[in-house]
């Protein structure tokens, strides 16, 4: 294995360091090295027994790790970025997960000064440990349908939190099952018999000393899952639990205790802000998530040899590396290109988010009070940046997480039988990542938001409004050229590839608009079209971002000519492979001809595979995953695949400390069981 990878690395001139630096910056890389050094030396983070234990034991280990990580963060004075890198390196969801994300964020964003003092401060000190309890057994996507109630009692100025039905039970709530002693609970606010929709309440659920559940609260872990088993996702029921007025997070809306009146939020913008930020983060991470699988599969497929090439000459009698088979290449290399495409898109998404935050804070003061900004429905100062941002984050979250999920499984299968072993490192990672396709907006449902935005933009363009952003620009351009037709040279010109993707997206937008506005088709009958539309538009954005990233000046990218040339090929591979996979929308919209698709499929893509193949190993090296993070026999940097598989199976496997009685008529199952002894030895 080692020689094969060494040889692969010697064949390519891709500059790994330059490319890594371009992806992560040198500070980012240094940070990773620094944090890794700390973690590697802590026995509690040893990964070698991760897959053997039962649920209770795995959770116990995860709790120990979470605690230790917090101690290390304090002791080493880690920044938030340091902590995030540490989590990435450990790669295991843990019991503080939701405390450290949604609980703290919600307290910070939605609490007022008094509440920051009362809740946020002890939470930041881990005296309060919390979770974010929105989803219920009966309602997830439909937040307005939540059944938990918070009824205002004007007599004693309290709220009564109550779960009127079994389906009102909070469910899936991370860190709640066993760990949290507080929860942010989303509940229907009821004042004087009238409902004002879901609002956030901070509720203590367990005793701070005994950690036993408080009275009239029923809480627990929801049980085993496809992955995420080191996290205690929980359920929570309230039987008329009273909480004081301060429990309702009051930065945006509140109940005035003097008048018993509901005070409306000035704007929903900042609330949308959090959701957009969470989705943008998912987009940002998707490239790296997928890159783990691609790194493992690429290295393994360069080490794995199987069969001789059918057309091989007499001389080359050794077995072929499986990465040389075109059916392996067609699975792995477009995914390799996708990792970069997603990474650059994630960066652009984050920049867009930042620009919007800046814009909103500039707008503050101009219109309304200090918290006022542009909501997705009520846009002002002539800009619809926020609506754009909202739709972009929805569409890209859906596409990016879908792509990463599908791609990881594709990588696992490309490894043949050994991909199925947990030691491949792909399966467990996939299983833990999978819910990303469902949470923060189910990937199918989010596409309705994108379609709604595109329809609105198209209506505005049809009215003759000047384009104000990229979306309205491509729609306007489509309209003006619709009758002269498109003739994009997708095989010869990179800018034309981007234009063809824009064309298809605009075409589908106007088709959908026709169905809805002219033919008055019901919304529900168009959901499938909307899904396709959102996918098409999001793919356009990815292609565009990849293209623009490579247009930056050489000094901005810091890449030498050879490395940049390979990146251009990866751009073409991602784009043309996507184009031919989605071929039918491209013809139907007349963006390309049937002949172009055929040439793309049989010539262009196949040639790109051949051209990129020699650089595959160095390209994945640029993602710079330490072995400790990958925890994979197949993906080892040094290629010692078989040695590592064998060592893990024979030396670290507790099942081998058991001797069975194999005969059906004997009641004895294990004649000998020294599995526990191995565990304590390690």
């Amino acid at each position: 294995g080692s020689e094969l990878l060494a040889h692969e690395r010697s064949k390519s001139s891709v500059n790994v360091d330059q490319l890594s630096t371009f992806l992560f910056t040198s500070e980012g890389l240094a940070r990773k090295r620094r944090v890794l050094k700390v973690l590697e030396n802590e026995k509690v983070f040893d990964k070698s027994q991760n897959y053997f234990a039962g649920r209770v034991d795995r959770f116990e280990t995860a709790l120990a790790r979470a605690k230790r990580l917090r101690q290390l963060a304090v002791r080493n004075g880690w920044s938030n970025d340091d902590r995030l890198i540490a989590n990435e390196l450990i790669s295991e969801p843990g019991p503080y997960g939701l405390h450290e994300s949604m609980f703290l964020i919600t307290l910070r964003d939605q609490g007022n000064a008094e509440q920051h003092e009362k809740f946020l401060k002890p939470a930041e000190q881990y005296k309060y440990i919390g979770c974010y309890a929105q989803t219920e057994l009966g309602h997830g996507s439909n937040v307005r349908g939540l059944e938990t109630t918070a009824t205002w009692n004007k007599e004693d100025q309290t709220f009564t939190i109550h779960s009127p039905y079994l389906t009102a039970s909070k469910w899936w709530i991370g860190s709640l099952g066993r760990t949290a002693n507080h929860a942010v609970v989303m509940a229907q606010l009821i004042i004087g018999g009238k409902s004002y929709g879901p609002h956030p309440f901070v509720v203590q659920i367990r005793d701070l000393n005994t950690h036993e559940t408080l009275e009239n609260i029923h809480v627990g872990d929801i049980g085993p899952k496809f992955g995420y088993n080191t996290m205690d996702n929980g359920y929570l029921l309230f039987n008329q639990v009273k909480v004081p007025h301060i429990s309702m997070l009051a930065r945006f809306s509140r109940v005035d205790p003097k008048t018993n009146q509901y005070v409306r939020p000035a704007s929903a913008s900042l609330i949308y802000g959090t959701l957009t930020w969470v989705r943008s983060t998912i987009v940002m991470q998707a490239g790296g998530v997928l890159a783990r699988g691609v790194t493992i599969a690429t290295r393994y497929c360069a080490v794995r040899r199987q069969f001789q090439d059918r057309d091989a000459q007499e001389g080359q009698k050794s077995e072929n590396q499986v990465i040389n088979y075109t059916t392996v290449q067609i699975r792995l290399l477009p995914l390799l290109a996708t990792t970069f495409a997603l990474h650059f898109t994630g960066k652009a998404m984050m920049e867009m988010y930042g620009a919007n935050q800046k814009k909103m804070s500039q707008d503050v003061g101009k219109v309304g009070g200090p918290e006022r900004g542009a909501g997705p429905e009520e846009t002002h100062s002539g800009s619809d940046l926020l609506a754009d941002l909202h739709a972009t984050s929805c569409g890209l979250k859906s596409l990016a997480s879908y792509t990463a999920v599908e791609g990881l499984e594709m990588c696992r299968r490309a490894c043949g039988g050994h991909g199925y072993s947990s030691f491949s490192g792909i399966g467990p990672w996939y299983a833990d990542y999978l819910p990303t396709a469902t949470w923060e907006g189910d990937n199918y449902m989010l596409t309705q938001q994108v379609a709604r935005y595109l329809l609105k933009s198209a209506r505005s363009v049809l009215k003759g409004n000047e384009p104000t952003n990229d979306t309205t620009f491509i729609l306007t351009n489509f309209l003006s050229r619709q009758d002269t037709g498109a003739a994009f040279d997708v095989l010869g010109n990179d800018a034309d590839i981007v234009a063809a993707f824009a064309w298809r997206s605009a075409f589908l937008t106007f088709e959908a608009l026709k169905h809805r506005d002219e033919q008055k088709r019901p919304w529900n009958s168009l959901l499938v079209d909307f899904y396709r539309l959102s996918r098409a538009h999001s793919q356009y954005m990815v292609v565009k971002n990849f293209y623009e990233t490579l247009q930056a000046s050489p000094s901005a990218t810091g890449l030498d000519a050879e490395t940049l040339a390979i990146m251009h090929k990866l751009f073409r591979l991602y784009s043309l492979h996507t184009l031919e996979s989605e071929a039918s929308e491209f013809y139907t919209s007349s963006a390309v001809t049937v002949r172009q698709i055929q040439l793309c499929r049989t010539n262009a893509v196949m040639r790109l595979l051949e051209e990129i193949r020699p650089h595959a190993v160095r390209l994945v090296d640029a993602w710079s995953f330490p072995d400790w993070q990958l925890d994979s026999s197949l993906g080892r940097y040094d290629g010692k695949v078989y040695e590592d598989m064998f060592y893990r199976a024979s030396e670290l496997n507790p099942l081998n400390k058991v001797v069975v009685d194999p005969y059906p008529d004997s009641k004895v199952l294990f004649k000998k069981n020294e599995a526990a002894a191995l565990k304590s030895k390690l």
Copy 2:
């Protein structure tokens, strides 16, 4: 939940009993009921704690189950079919899995009379417990590349079995890790320094009394996997282990101990027979495998309500069942159609297998000795049924297992968040089924076999030979009509749908032939085309089988007119949805026009979804899975989804018997741990 499902069932006139009987025969259904009654009453098969335990404990339970099942089979005089149904109901791979399949089959098919007496008999009595050890750490797909050697020692008429490298270690061998005391070992036969390729040897590996490993053998479990963790897949290394002459299974080829000469097999046909049979079984089962997921998701999506319909009238204010959303329908209903399509194809595949077996036994005696029949390369008596069977089983195995795998995951995701819970019953089932895409021929690699067969058939047709089977018939038909063109009325005529699929397959065949024979392109550069070709041809076969099944006389199907009409709609849904998903190959081949595809996508398929929707629940009922088998909260027949989720989480979940200390600075992890107590209570 209950009322919703009752309402669903009352709305549809699909005759569930008729359809079940058509699928499984009344004997099949009775058998299932009878076996279920036995299993349900055995505490050891209780499934409620399946997902909590660690690997060692899960394996122990699986061993207890395997033993008990064998006892029950003996006590109740179960037939092989009874045993298979029992395994299906239990739905968990177990430590006797490979003993009861490949070990016994290989001894039976490849052993001679003396070997049957010596090995098969004790194996059938579970005195010998065995496995099938072919794959090695370094070689799986490429069987000729195996490195384990079996060297003939003429001095003492023994073989020396040896593993010369680490990569020669047997790997992945089911039932080997802890359970088996014997193995059929595939090893390179070497006589007088010359290698004769891989042959099967029966080798004892553990002591029959102590079950300790025999000398010079290194054996163990390979460790945790993505699924299949109740099975002890193992590794095995030999250090110069001597076995007697009788150990080499000698029905086909053998070493003559007098002359020390290798005796060649008369024909490879029966060996191919076993592989074909195993693949055919996979095809046969794929419909049912997928139907489990479809049953669960369909029932749950009929119970789950979320949001009001956007265009709903004032009156209908209750929330919409999610199965009413077209983005849910487009995922589930084509899969529902697919379950039937695969089931009928599996039946046809099995009939084809049976016909071939019959033909081969007729041929016996005509040509050569008693074991002689037509091998896939050397066809005779004018028939290429065996070659056809081989290619068909390869193509369909690849397509069917791929479809089932992808479909199960699609079903899981359609269930939103709750699909991720193990209590959905889909995830664990999916994880255990997954290796079917890899074993018995990796799904990508098998497609080369199909392409090779189609190219051969096309060459024969081009030479002007008369068509001898369906494949050569459709190729001939294509050639004759190629210049007049096709005009298939896929939206109006069912037979034309089948013809369009045939056309596309024939078109791709001749394209591939042109690349290979005219343009002399390297084999490796065509693998991606071959993959597409195999997929296209296999989809044609599925469409054709579905169509033909419904053409049978009403008395043969036993279905009333209404039920049959729905089945026709399912046929169209499967076919047209496949057609539009693979649209580009259909235009490129001119089998259909762009306009037809558009109409198919936006009209025909959407209308079929609407028409089939009311029957969805009854259609899945016809698959007649008992709740005990599904073991799913979401898929319960009575729709009590939430009650069951809650019960399992709160009452059966050992993690809830633990009280943690949540603070990072405290060394205590669990303040209280009564998890073990719950287990013993249950």
